[in-house]
Amino acid sequence: MKSPSCLPLEAAKVICVSESPIDAGAALSQFQKAAATSGGIVSFTGNVRGTSAQGSVTTLHLQSYSPLTEQGIERAAQTARDRWPLDHITILHRTGDMRPGDTIVFVAAASAHRRAAFEAADFLMDYLKTEAVFWKKETTSEGAAWIEPRAEDYQDNARWANTETT
């Protein structure tokens, strides 16, 4: 069953986990309209890779656990808002079956100045890679395997534990 589209992105905070395809271009375009007067907008788009360490990727399957997944992302978004002066945040995340080139995740942050927007988007992506409640199964030419975060992902996320951002 398809979930409804996550668009439009007018609210100051949009969090959407859905099986519907993400059109990152359309998402950014809408986000830019909503945050037109913010000064600085940073967005990140994560796509399914065509090759992995295991070989050439045919499909990526993502599982979530509602409402735990959404609640966790909500908390991370709130942490970002507490930490940086953000006007707008959007987090779109796919579940279900995807193919190489499909967008898995779209994160955008808008603030009066660039640094806050860069850091908030980076922080949210590190959360999504290591703590967000998703499970990923990758099918390649060599077979299927469940993927867990890499050590580098955990190290990236740990950067935010003790840093002040004033």
């Binding site: 609640q71 890679k129 409640v133 998703f134 469940w146």
Partner: protein
Amino acid sequence: MASLLYFGKLVELTHSPQETIDLPPTLGTTHDLRKWLDNRFETEGAFLESTIRIAINNQVVTEPQAIGQTDEIAFMPPVGGG
């Protein structure tokens, strides 16, 4: 009846993402349940791994935690999306 949910790689061991089941009354805690499931699915310790976290009724719990007959109990391997 309790609902048991198995996420990620655990589905390969249980061959089903969820089941509704009468738990034996002797199972008082998450620790008892892990051992019982590990025997039941013959998973050679997979259910005992500390990297598998448990959520009861949508709350990740600190273990051991008491379990009830009507709980939704989810077994969660390491997570990560993006």
